[in-house]
C-alpha cells in the first residue's frame, strides 16, 4: 500500500475497497459482523485515495459477500468495489450497482405509513438518487436520506 499503512494480504476472503472515509464500521454492521464471530478482519480507515480523497478498506478472511449484502453496502458506499480473493489472488472484482428498488430492508420514517401499521405490508423504496443515496417510499412517498439509512443500519 503506497501510503505506508501495512496490512498484509489475505489468503481467502473478501476485500471491500473504496468505502467512504469513516464508514467501514457501518459496512461491518451491514454484514452483521460485531467481532465475536471469529473472522480475521483488517480495517483500514481514512487512508489517502486518489479517487476519493480519503477512504476506508475492509479485508475479511473466509467470508463471502452475498448479493443482497452487496446491494445494502451500496446504499452507504455507492462506489465500493468488492474483490474476491482466492489463494492470495483477486479472482473477481465486483462493482455492485445501487439497486433501483429496495424491498424489506429499511423502515419508512412516516409513522402513519401502511408499512409501519400492517404486518403484511413490507417496505418498498424506489431509488431517486444514487450518491448520496435518496429513496422514496412507494406507499406514502416519504423520502429517506443517506443520513437516515446510516442511522437505521447503525442502530
Amino acid at each position: 500500500m503506497k501510503n505506508g499503512l501495512i496490512v498484509s494480504k489475505i489468503k481467502n476472503g473478501t476485500v471491500i475497497d473504496h468505502i467512504p472515509a469513516g464508514r467501514a464500521l457501518a459496512v461491518l454492521r451491514v454484514l452483521g459482523i460485531r467481532g465475536q464471530e471469529g473472522y480475521r478482519i483488517a480495517l483500514v480507515m481514512n487512508v489517502e485515495s486518489s479517487k476519493m480523497g480519503r477512504k476506508d478498506i475492509l479485508k475479511i478472511e473466509e467470508r463471502a459477500i452475498e448479493e443482497r449484502e452487496a446491494e445494502l453496502i451500496t446504499l452507504i458506499a455507492p462506489e465500493a468495489t468488492i474483490n474476491i480473493v482466492k489463494d492470495y489472488e483477486v479472482v473477481e472484482k465486483r462493482k455492485q450497482k445501487v439497486p433501483d428498488k429496495i424491498t424489506g430492508l429499511l423502515r419508512c420514517t412516516n409513522p402513519s405509513c401502511i408499512t409501519n401499521n400492517d404486518p403484511e405490508a413490507a417496505t418498498k423504496f424506489k431509488t431517486l438518487r444514487k450518491s448520496p443515496i435518496e429513496l422514496v417510499c412507494e406507499y406514502c412517498e416519504t423520502r429517506i436520506t443517506e443520513q437516515e439509512v446510516l442511522r437505521q443500519i447503525l442502530e
Binding site: C113, I114, D118, A121, Y139, E141
Partner: protein, 300 residues
C-alpha cells in the same frame, strides 16, 4: 383504466375524457349502465359524504353495492386485517373503493386485489376522485381550469385533497398558486418541489385575495396531527368571513371539499362566490363516470 391511487395515475387526456362524459351525462346525452356489476365500499375510516356519493353513483346505474362505511361495523374490529378484507372483497365484487387512515393503504390494497382499486382517501396522502370533482367544478364555471390563479387556504400539510389537487393542477398550467396557511401547516417540501408552475407561500389571504380566481378552502385535519397540543396551536387560525369575501372579485369562486367546521362563515353561503354546494352536487355524476370507466359498464 386499472387502479386509481394517485391523480397522476391519469393522463391529461383521460381527465378531459372523464369531464366530457360527465357533461354528456348531465345533459342526458348518454346513459351509463352497471347492471350485474358489484362495487365494494371499504371505508376503514368513517365517511358519510364520499361513501354515499359512490353508493348513489353505483345504484343510479343499476349496479349493486356491498361493504362497510365505518371500521366498527366489520370484522376489522374483530382483528381481521386490511389484506384479508381486501382479498374477500376482491372475490365478491368488480371494483373496490377504499378509504383508510394510513398513507399508502390504497396502493397496498391494489397490490393484493386483482380487481381495480379506487383510492377514496388514504391518510394524508391522496384523494384523487375529489380532485376530479374540484377540477370539473372549475371547468363548469370557467370553461377550463387552464391558466387561472388559485389560492389554497388552510391545512396544506395534512389535507390529502390538497396533495391531489396541486398535482392535478399540473395538467392545467395555472398562472399562479398561492399556498396560504399558518407556517406549521405548509405544503410538504417534497410535494412543492415537484410542482412545475409558479407557487408562493402566504400566511394571510388578505394580501392576495384580489388576485385569486379560485379560493380552495380546507378544514384542519385534526385527526392527522401527531399530538393534540400541535393542533391547539393552529386551530381556528384562519376563517373565510364576510370581510374577506367582500374583497374578492365578483367573478371569483370559493370551493371546499366539505365537510366544513368553522373555516367558512355560514353567512358566506348566500354570496355568489360560494360554489361549494355546486361542487358537492357534481360528486355523484363524476363518480358515476369514473366507476363506469373502471368497472367497464355498458354505455347507451
Amino acid at each position: 383504466m386499472q387502479d386509481l391511487i394517485s391523480i397522476l395515475d391519469l393522463a391529461k387526456e383521460e381527465v378531459l375524457e372523464i369531464f366530457e362524459k360527465t357533461d354528456a351525462l348531465l345533459r342526458g346525452k348518454i346513459r351509463l349502465r352497471l347492471d350485474g356489476k358489484i362495487v365494494s365500499l371499504a371505508f376503514f375510516e368513517p365517511s358519510t359524504r364520499t361513501a354515499l356519493s359512490f353508493e348513489s353513483a353505483a345504484l343510479s346505474m343499476g349496479g349493486r353495492v356491498l361493504g362497510f362505511t365505518s371500521e366498527e361495523s366489520i370484522s376489522v374490529a374483530k382483528g381481521e386485517n386490511l389484506a384479508d378484507t381486501v382479498r374477500m372483497l376482491d372475490n365478491y365484487s368488480d371494483c373496490i373503493v377504499i378509504r383508510h387512515k394510513f398513507d399508502g393503504a390504497a396502493k397496498f390494497a391494489s397490490e393484493i386485489a386483482q380487481k381495480p382499486v379506487i383510492n377514496a382517501g388514504d391518510g394524508k396522502h391522496e384523494h384523487p376522485t375529489q380532485t376530479l370533482i374540484d377540477l370539473y367544478t372549475i371547468k363548469r364555471i370557467f370553461g377550463t381550469p387552464e391558466g387561472l390563479t388559485f389560492g389554497l387556504l388552510g391545512d396544506l400539510r395534512y389535507a390529502r385533497t390538497v396533495n391531489s389537487l396541486v398535482r392535478g393542477l399540473k395538467f392545467f398550467r395555472p398562472k399562479k398558486v398561492y399556498l396560504i396557511s399558518p407556517p406549521q401547516l405548509r405544503l410538504r417540501e417534497e410535494i412543492r418541489n415537484e410542482l412545475d408552475y409558479p407557487t408562493e407561500e402566504r400566511v394571510d389571504p388578505r394580501d392576495v385575495i384580489g388576485d385569486i380566481d379560485v379560493l380552495y378552502v380546507t378544514r384542519i385535519q385534526k385527526e392527522r396531527f401527531p399530538d393534540e397540543s400541535e393542533y391547539e396551536k393552529v386551530k381556528e387560525s384562519y376563517r373565510v368571513d364576510v370581510r374577506l369575501v367582500e374583497e374578492m372579485r365578483k367573478d371569483s369562486v370559493i370551493l371546499h371539499p366539505l365537510p366544513r367546521v368553522t373555516e367558512i362563515d355560514r353567512r358566506i353561503d348566500s354570496y355568489p362566490q360560494a360554489k361549494y354546494f355546486l361542487q358537492a352536487s357534481l360528486a355523484v355524476p363524476l363518480r358515476s363516470v369514473l366507476l363506469h370507466e373502471v368497472v367497464g359498464g355498458v354505455e347507451a
